[in-house]
Structure formats: structure tokens, C-alpha cells
């Protein structure tokens, strides 16, 4: 006889509103990040895809090096490199269909280029001649977004709007480990889950937010564990394994496309270079850590897999290198030309039509430019 029965107490029913709508178990990420390269899963991977990924990674690495070099030559104001993160950048771009949308963070010029945006237009922001160099509608790539995590709700809204219109569109939004701490990350994921919007959130956990290591950013078991709190699946993947990142993202994109709603993917990777060319990483981390990660390099991982499987020979490797050099040379040459700027553009796109007030200021600038041209023409100030 239990205590309850002994004392004949009543048994209240559970609170009426208590019906968990979602089973949490399938939303939780696996304990280990998913891997393809060097595992059984590799055998199932599409060889063509792997070769394509390889070629893009090699190009990406070269692109990062070239862009960094351009900062030294004063051709870029600043460059946040994705060396070591190419697998995420490239997979994010390749996994999308033409009609889909990519929402990059400020770091993701490589993903933008891999999606098809002209490399010079992708670098416009960082060169400093305008804020966005490309038409977002041409390749369905949102502007590179400087304030962290603030583009995530845009991705949700766009995906939601597309779904309301009945269009087959998925949005993939990229954010860093640091960006997950922002309120906008939270609000975006919550809206996405409530609306069942076709969005995929890709967190590149590269270990640092500038100088701040992950341990000061979060105490969570993983960033992917945040997903369950929104009621969406969280997936954890080795971010240096291009095949794994591609597969996990492809699953998530398919899931979204089929009406299954959003997914949060955490890709574990590492920012091998400093935060930007202007940063001094020795202030906050040691070489040893960087070296460990160099040994887990995304290009090497894929190269070894392809070589081991006899899918890549020296000639193919050389061809990829050549392609990358061609890209870099073209970029170098084009970036060495001074962009043609019109100061009057300051006013052109603030509103559909400049306000009377802006028109006055426009005239003021015009007069200033004329005076400048005149004084340059005659004497030097």
C-alpha cells in the first residue's frame, strides 16, 4: 500500500495545457560532430561533388591569400580571412539551388563568391568604394552584414514570405560562434521555428569572436544544443570536412524545402588567420593551437580522401592550383584598378526621391566639388 493510498489523498490531473508538442529527442544533436571523410560514409559520397568541392576549396584558399595580400597593398581597407574555414564557406554556397537565398555574415565573402557573385563586387565593401558591390537579386545573396546576427531575422522573413507566396525557396543564413550570443540570433530562430520557415542557420564555430574564445561565449554543451529550445533540430558537424558539411546542410535544406521547417547546424572549425589583417592574434592565442588545427586542414582532409580513393592525381591537383592562380591573378589585376567614384552618389539612394532637404545638401556638395576642381585647376591650397 503506497503512502497515497494510505492517506486517501486525491490525485490531481496534470495541468490542462501540458501537452508537449514536440518530442525533444530527435532535435538534439549527436554527441559527436558528423564526419564523412575518412569514415565509412565517404564511400557513399558523390565523387563528382567531392571533386567539385576540392576545386572550390583550393580556389577559396587562394582567394583568401590574395585578398589578404591586397590589404597589405592598400587595395582593401580590411579583410577578414576564412582560411581554414573554406569547407563551410564553399559548402554553404554549393548546397543551394539557384532560386535559394544566401545570407552571409561580414566574414563570408568567400561563400558569396562561391555562389557566383563577381569577386570584385563581393569585395566592394572591404575595398571601401560602396557598402555593397553587387545586386542582391542577381544571385540571391543578401548584402554582407556587418552588425553580427542582425541578418538572421532577414533570412527568416524572406523565407517566410517566399513560403506564403508558394515559392520553392530556402534561405541559408551564416553566423559566427560569437554572433549566437546576440538577441537577434534568439529572435530569428524563434520566429523561424514558430513560422516553420524554410531556413537553415549555419553557425561557423571557429573558436573565437575576435579575441574571445568559445568558453567565454557560452557554457552550452554545443551551440547546436540551442536548437531544442526553439523546437528545431540541431546538427553538429566537423566544419573542416567539406563532404560532411555539404551533406548536413543538404539534408537541412531538403528538410526546409519539404516544409519541415528550420534547422540549426553548428560546424566546428577554426579561424587559422587572425581576426582580420589588422588583428594581432598572438595577443590571445598560442601557435601550438593553430598548428593542431593546421593538421586538420579542410583541403588536406579532402585531398587525402580523394587520393586514397584514387579520385585525384597530381595532374588534377595541379589543375585546381592553376584555376586558383587564374582567379587570383584576375582579382589582383582588377583590384589594382582604382574604382571610379562619384561623390554625388552620397545622395542618390537614401530615398527613392531625395527630400527637398537632401537636394539642398546635394547642391552644397556640388558647389564644394566645383570649388575644389577650380582650386586644383589653378593654385594649390
Amino acid at each position: 500500500m503506497t503512502v497515497m493510498e494510505q492517506r486517501g489523498a486525491y490525485r490531481p490531473t496534470p495541468p490542462p495545457a501540458w501537452r508537449p508538442r514536440t518530442d525533444p529527442a530527435p532535435l538534439l544533436p549527436d554527441a559527436e560532430p558528423y564526419r564523412v571523410l575518412g569514415t565509412e560514409a565517404a564511400a557513399k559520397a558523390d565523387p563528382e561533388l567531392l571533386r567539385r568541392l576540392y576545386a572550390e576549396l583550393v580556389k577559396g584558399r587562394r582567394y583568401n591569400a590574395q585578398a589578404t595580400a591586397l590589404t597589405k597593398q592598400g587595395r582593401l581597407a580590411v579583410y577578414p580571412s576564412t582560411t581554414g574555414q573554406e569547407a563551410c564557406e564553399v559548402a554553404a554556397a554549393l548546397v543551394l539551388k539557384e532560386q535559394d537565398w544566401l545570407f552571409p555574415s561580414y566574414r563570408d565573402t568567400l561563400a558569396v563568391v562561391a555562389r557566383g557573385v563577381d569577386p570584385v563586387e563581393a569585395l566592394t565593401l572591404l575595398r571601401g568604394d560602396w557598402h555593397t558591390g553587387y545586386d542582391p537579386y542577381e544571385h540571391r545573396v543578401a548584402p554582407l552584414c556587418t552588425p553580427l546576427a542582425t541578418q538572421l531575422p532577414h533570412a527568416v522573413g524572406l523565407a517566410h514570405a517566399a513560403r506564403l507566396k508558394g515559392d520553392d525557396v530556402v534561405a541559408l543564413a551564416m553566423v559566427g560562434d560569437g554572433g549566437t550570443s546576440e538577441g537577434d540570433f534568439h529572435e530569428a530562430l524563434n520566429f523561424a521555428a514558430v513560422w516553420q520557415a524554410p531556413v537553415v542557420f549555419l553557425v561557423q564555430n571557429n573558436g573565437f569572436a575576435i579575441s574571445v574564445p568559445l568558453a567565454k561565449q557560452t557554457a552550452a554543451p554545443s551551440l547546436a544544443h540551442k536548437a531544442v529550445g526553439y523546437g528545431m533540430p540541431g546538427r553538429l558537424v566537423d566544419g573542416n570536412d567539406a563532404a560532411a558539411v555539404h551533406e548536413v546542410l543538404a539534408d537541412a535544406v531538403r528538410h526546409a524545402r519539404e516544409g519541415g521547417g528550420p534547422t540549426l547546424v553548428e560546424a566546428i572549425t577554426y579561424r587559422v588567420d587572425a581576426h582580420t589583417n589588422a588583428d594581432d592574434a598572438t595577443r590571445y592565442r598560442g601557435d601550438a593551437e593553430v598548428e593542431t588545427w593546421r593538421a586538420h586542414d579542410p583541403i588536406q582532409l579532402l585531398e587525402r580522401e580523394l587520393t586514397a580513393r584514387g579520385m585525384l592525381d597530381e595532374a588534377a591537383i595541379e589543375a585546381a592550383r592553376q584555376d586558383a592562380e587564374t582567379l587570383a591573378a584576375a582579382l589582383r589585376e582588377r583590384m589594382n584598378q582604382d574604382p571610379v567614384l562619384d561623390p554625388m552618389d552620397l545622395f542618390t539612394h537614401v530615398y527613392a526621391e531625395p527630400t527637398p532637404h537632401l537636394r539642398e545638401q546635394q547642391e552644397q556638395l556640388r558647389a564644394e566639388l566645383e570649388a575644389e576642381a577650380e582650386s586644383e585647376g589653378s593654385t594649390h591650397r
Binding site: P136, P153, G157, A161, K165, Y351, P356
Partner: protein
């Protein structure tokens, strides 16, 4: 000729009608915010819209203002025309990051290829006995943010016309709704077509020759009352209702001030760093030699908005306006 007696509509009803007509006219128009759906909004401005157009067109969002405005940005990117409701003025603050960093700049950022036709409806101002955070006037923040239009109606007809214009605009518009005028009525007839007001034109609500009261939104009726009361003091005041703070209608305002030679700017918002400073400065820049006295400002005090029992001491009323008019150096006249 027969005149049909028109059942007067409130400003809230005119706003509802504007939303409904805009939604009927353009399937791209979507209303979203906290409690805008089933409840019809805490001020009932969205009443009936979810029923008529479905919850996908008039959507109760999760409770997160940055998320509301941020997702509206994405919806606008995809070609929709979101009309966002912020439940109260002070609850728009969490959305400032989205407003300043994105809403106001996206068109410029993308060289015009990505305009954001978003209307942000913000019930603002006091005089309704609201507890803390329910009576703010934050138009100064919006005015200081290039890329936004800032519009505010003072009459029932303007509420309809300006909201239609805001929704039709290809630029983001912060649409400030004077809370205490929600239940005001005038002779607007919802059954007759109302002209859609162009954004950016001020209007002279009352002509006068002695001095100009430059005002907007909730302070317009107060200024009209002050102008009436001023007659007893021998002053014939002109009242200009700005209707839009951005764009600013220098032409109408300056024409009036040049005529009267004296001006007082009246608003509920605090004066320090508030709209009145801008208005006084630009009127002075343009009309200096027509001015008999400095442009004065009558405003709320520069304090956090007071609790309900003290708000009447804070809000600019007829007496404070007349005091200011009295300080317009009339001695110089005689």
C-alpha cells in the same frame, strides 16, 4: 442637393479602414505585430483584419520587437509591404538596431536595388494615463536617422490619407499615431473616397497674422485651442500642422513665419535634443530677417515621462503656449 449625416469615425477607425483598404488593394501588404491578429491590437486598430484577410496577412508574432522588424525586413526584401505595429512607443526601442542599421540604410547600401517599403506604426505620446514606458515621444530618434520618413497625423482624415500614403511609399516610414487622438472624431466620411495625402506637405490649420504655432500630432488640437484662447489677448495665431517631420516642409512653414514674423514650436517630446531644436534652427536659418523675436519652443520637460498623476504638469497645454507667445517680444511692435 441632399446631405447625408455622416456618422463620425474615430482616428482609430480611420486607421483600421486605411489598413483594410491597403490590404484589399495590394496583396503584398501584410500586417504584423504583437496581438494584432485575434485581438485586433491593444488599441483595436487592426480589428477584423485577421478575420477578413487571414492570419497570414495579419499575423500575431512572437513577443520580440527586433524580431518583428527584422523579419519584416526580410519580407520586404522578398517583395512584400509589411506594416509593423509596435505596441507602444517605448517598446520600439528593442528594434532600434534593426531600424537604424538596416531599415533606414538598405536602399542606400544596395545602390537602390533593395528598397524596403516597410511602414512602422508607433502609437506615441501621453495624455492617456499610461504607466511608465507607455507614453514616450521618441520622434527625435527617428528624425536623426537618415533614410526614414517620419509621419504623424493630427486629424481623422489625415490618419487615413497619410497611412495609405505611408504604405504606398517605397521607402520605410515611421508612422507615429498620437495615442490620445485615437478616439478623437471629426467629419471624415469613411464612405467617401479620401484623397491619399502626399507625404511631406504641412498644412495651415488656422490662419492668423500675429505669430505661427508650428506643431504636429497630439499637439495640434492643443494649439488650435491655444489659438482660440489667444484671441482674448489680442493675438491672431496661425497654426501649422507639419504632418511629416521627414521630409520637412520648409516651404509652408517658412512662408507662414515670414508672414507673421514670430513663431513658437510646440510638441510633447522633451525640448533638449528634440524636434523643436531642429525646427527652430532651420526656420531661423531661413527667415532670420523676418523674425521679430527668436523662435521659441514649448515642449514637455526634459525628464523621463512622468507617472499618470503628474502628466498634466508635464504636457504642454494652452497656458504654457500662451506664456511663450507672450514672450515673443511684442514691445518691439509698438
Amino acid at each position: 442637393m441632399t446631405t447625408v449625416a455622416v456618422k463620425p469615425a474615430t482616428m482609430a477607425q480611420a486607421l483600421t479602414r486605411a489598413l483594410r483598404d491597403a490590404m484589399a488593394a495590394d496583396p503584398a501588404v501584410h500586417v504584423m505585430g504583437e496581438d494584432v491578429g485575434t485581438l485586433g491590437g491593444v488599441f483595436r486598430v487592426t480589428d477584423g483584419l485577421a478575420k477578413e484577410f487571414g492570419e497570414d496577412r495579419c499575423t500575431d508574432t512572437p513577443l520580440a520587437e527586433a524580431g518583428i522588424l527584422g523579419t519584416a525586413v526580410g519580407m520586404a526584401m522578398y517583395g512584400l509591404r509589411p506594416v509593423v505595429e509596435m505596441q507602444f512607443d517605448a517598446f520600439a526601442y528593442p528594434a532600434f538596431e534593426q531600424l537604424i542599421s538596416h531599415v533606414s540604410r538598405m536602399r542606400n547600401r544596395t545602390r537602390g536595388s533593395m528598397p524596403l517599403p516597410i511602414t512602422i506604426r508607433v502609437p506615441y505620446g501621453g495624455g492617456i494615463g499610461g504607466v511608465e514606458h507607455h507614453s514616450d515621444s521618441s520622434e527625435a530618434y527617428y528624425m536623426a536617422t537618415p533614410g526614414l520618413h517620419v509621419v504623424t497625423p493630427a486629424t481623422v482624415a489625415d490618419a487615413y490619407g497619410l497611412l495609405r500614403a505611408a504604405i504606398a511609399s517605397d521607402d520605410p516610414v515611421v508612422f507615429l499615431e498620437p495615442k490620445r487622438l485615437y478616439w478623437s472624431k471629426d467629419s471624415w466620411n469613411p464612405e467617401e473616397p479620401t484623397p491619399v495625402e502626399p507625404i511631406g506637405r504641412a498644412v495651415v490649420r488656422r490662419s492668423g497674422r500675429s505669430a505661427t504655432l508650428i506643431t504636429y500630432g497630439p499637439s495640434v488640437p492643443v494649439c488650435m485651442e491655444a489659438a482660440e484662447a489667444a484671441r482674448a489677448e489680442g493675438w491672431d495665431l496661425e497654426v501649422v500642422d507639419l504632418r511629416s517631420l521627414v521630409p520637412f516642409d520648409d516651404e509652408t512653414v517658412c512662408a507662414s513665419v515670414r508672414r507673421t514674423g514670430r513663431a513658437v514650436v510646440v510638441h510633447e517630446s522633451g525640448s533638449f535634443g528634440g524636434p523643436g531644436g531642429e525646427i527652430a534652427a532651420r526656420v531661423t536659418e531661413r527667415c532670420f530677417h523676418h523674425l521679430e523675436a527668436p523662435v521659441l519652443r514649448v515642449a514637455g520637460f526634459d525628464v523621463p515621462y512622468p507617472p499618470p498623476m503628474l502628466e498634466r504638469h508635464h504636457l504642454p497645454g494652452v497656458d504654457r503656449i500662451l506664456d511663450a507667445v507672450g514672450r515673443l517680444q511684442w514691445e518691439a511692435e509698438s
